[in-house]
Amino acid sequence: MAEFLYLYRGGQRGWTPEESQQIMQRWMNWFKELGASGNLKDGGQPLEPEGKIVRDKSGPVTDGPYAEAKDLVGGYTLIEAPSLDRAAELAKGCPILERQGLVEVRPIMKLDM
């Protein structure tokens, strides 16, 4: 088993309460599946959309990230899967895909020396 990070990028906002509830339900179902199959290591955390960018020691700290809303990382989840392909396959169930967002699947580097 290896570990992977799902980075959630983009996805629309501005749902009606009823739609929010449905989206919520889909995420819960997806997490439930991931949990049942033993692939969910940690549900992770959402990230605030704003932040700061620090580029060098002496220069100014700027507001950021500057990425467009569609590229912005909104949160992450820690996944366990036998392979990158499998982790990517599992990400296809993510409800963000129905809302013009995407999941970036990144293997966490193994430290078995």
Binding site: P17, S20, M28, P46
Partner: protein
């Protein structure tokens, strides 16, 4: 109907109503923005972390914090609700004031205040209905558009116009004033009745959309029934009528998803618990001097609910009730329903005669059920040619594919009967 199924929507109505009390009706959008923001945060956090144990409290806390930020930031630029004006000037009283508006005991009154504010005579009835759905029911523009089979932009435009009128209408309605309250109550009841009717008879092809409207109307009418001044016999009768009619919702579509008329419904699928509830409210409504149209309509629904089938229905009672309804609130549609009941009691020829006798039949021309009823009675009387023409007229007026399918089946039935008669 699980309340948690619509947690977000119900919380939205509750929070907008509470925030408007401290922000003032003229800052309605600000209250809506704060609520929208709280929901966005909830969605972001909950989808990864799961729904917290007490989601209402979570949402309330988030909205409260955001409201305090907004009040702090905007207190020099805007005026808020005058009765809170002084409290909002110092930090300590500001947080307390916000805390206070979310106190659970006041919330029911907040929603009533909002509901009564929405149902002002300055607003056309359709606008009142949209406002109640949007602000108290937590329905989004997309959901309202789906319910009324209207375009998104059309609903958005009407709703914005209605909100402007509402914002300019002064402070929130004062529900403590018993005279004003009694004067406004019929409009509120009427708006809730229209929401229910849209769900029950409405044009949307999606059964789920329509059931949602019915249940929402029931939920909001229950708010009235639980308030000292609003719990009048007519409110109880309205609630009775909603429960008794909504009990039939599960049987309106048959196993293959076809629309089924009251005459052909599988009555074992009627919701017995809702019928019971409806009867309890009907019993409670039977006090006072005044008989409202809701009393009569509930009584009609009750007669149907007691009959094991169409033939064993007490049509004499139903005709008598429609006679009463014609004296309280006459309309061509009531007259049409009365004629259908007469046909059941005295045969199709008498029913057709009663339809002929309806004043202003032009007002029924665009109403598919009018043509369908005439078709049914002609068919029963043995005139399939006339029946077919009426069903075709109904079909051309059908508002969705289910209705169209329903009438086209009746057209075919007329043709079958016709060839049977012709040999």
């Amino acid at each position: 109907m699980e309340p948690s199924d619509h947690l977000f929507r119900h919380e939205a109505g509750r929070m907008v109503a509470a925030l408007t009390r401290v922000f003032g009706l003229h800052n309605l959008e600000l209250a809506e923005d704060v609520v929208q923001d709280a929901f966005c945060r909830a969605l972001e956090v909950w989808k990864l972390r799961g729904i917290p144990e007490n989601p209402s409290a979570w949402l309330t806390t988030t909205a409260k914090r955001r409201a305090i930020d907004v009040l702090r930031r905007e207190r020099t630029a805007r005026t808020f609700a005058p009765e809170y004006g002084r409290l909002l000037q110092t930090e300590w009283t500001l947080a307390n004031a916000v805390q206070e508006v979310f106190d659970w005991t006041d919330v029911r009154d907040d929603r009533l205040r909002m509901m009564f504010s929405c149902c002002c005579v300055d607003q056309p009835e359709a606008a009142q209905v949209m406002l109640v759905l949007s602000l108290v029911g937590g329905f989004g523009v997309r959901e309202i558009a789906a319910a009324f089979v209207s375009s998104l932009t059309a609903v958005e435009k009407r709703l914005n116009r209605a909100k402007h009128t509402l914002k300019d209408s002064g402070p929130l309605f004062d529900i403590a004033d018993a005279d004003d309250f009694a004067a406004r109550l019929p409009s509120v009841q009427r708006a809730l009745y229209l929401i229910f009717s849209e769900g029950y008879h409405g044009a949307s092809a999606q059964a789920a959309v329509r059931a949602d409207l019915c249940y929402e109307a029931i939920r909001l009418t229950r708010l009235l029934a639980n308030h000292r001044l609003a719990a009048t016999p007519s409110t109880h009768a309205l609630l009775a009528l909603m429960y008794l009619d909504a009990a039939r919702l599960p049987s309106r579509l048959d196993a293959s998803g076809n629309l089924t008329s009251l005459f052909d419904q599988d009555r074992s699928r009627w919701n017995g618990r809702m019928i019971e509830e409806g009867r309890e409210w009907l019993e409670r409504s039977a006090t006072g001097q005044q008989m409202s149209r809701y009393h009569v309509e509930a009584a009609i629904a009750d007669v149907h609910s007691r009959a094991p089938n169409v033939d064993e229905t007490d049509w004499c009672a139903i005709v008598a009730l429609y006679d009463t309804l014609m004296t309280i609130d006459p309309s061509p549609i009531v007259a049409l329903n009365r004629a259908i009941a007469i046909a059941q009691r005295d045969g199709p020829a008498k029913g057709l005669a009663a339809i002929e006798a309806i004043g202003e039949p032009k007002r029924l021309d665009a109403y598919p059920f009018y043509h369908a009823a005439r078709g049914e009675l002609e068919l029963r009387r043995g005139d399939p040619v006339a029946a077919r023409a009426h069903f075709e007229a109904a079909m051309s007026l059908a508002r969705n594919s289910e209705e169209r399918r329903f009438y086209s089946r009746r057209v075919r039935q007329s043709c079958v009967t016709l060839s049977g008669v012709g040999g």
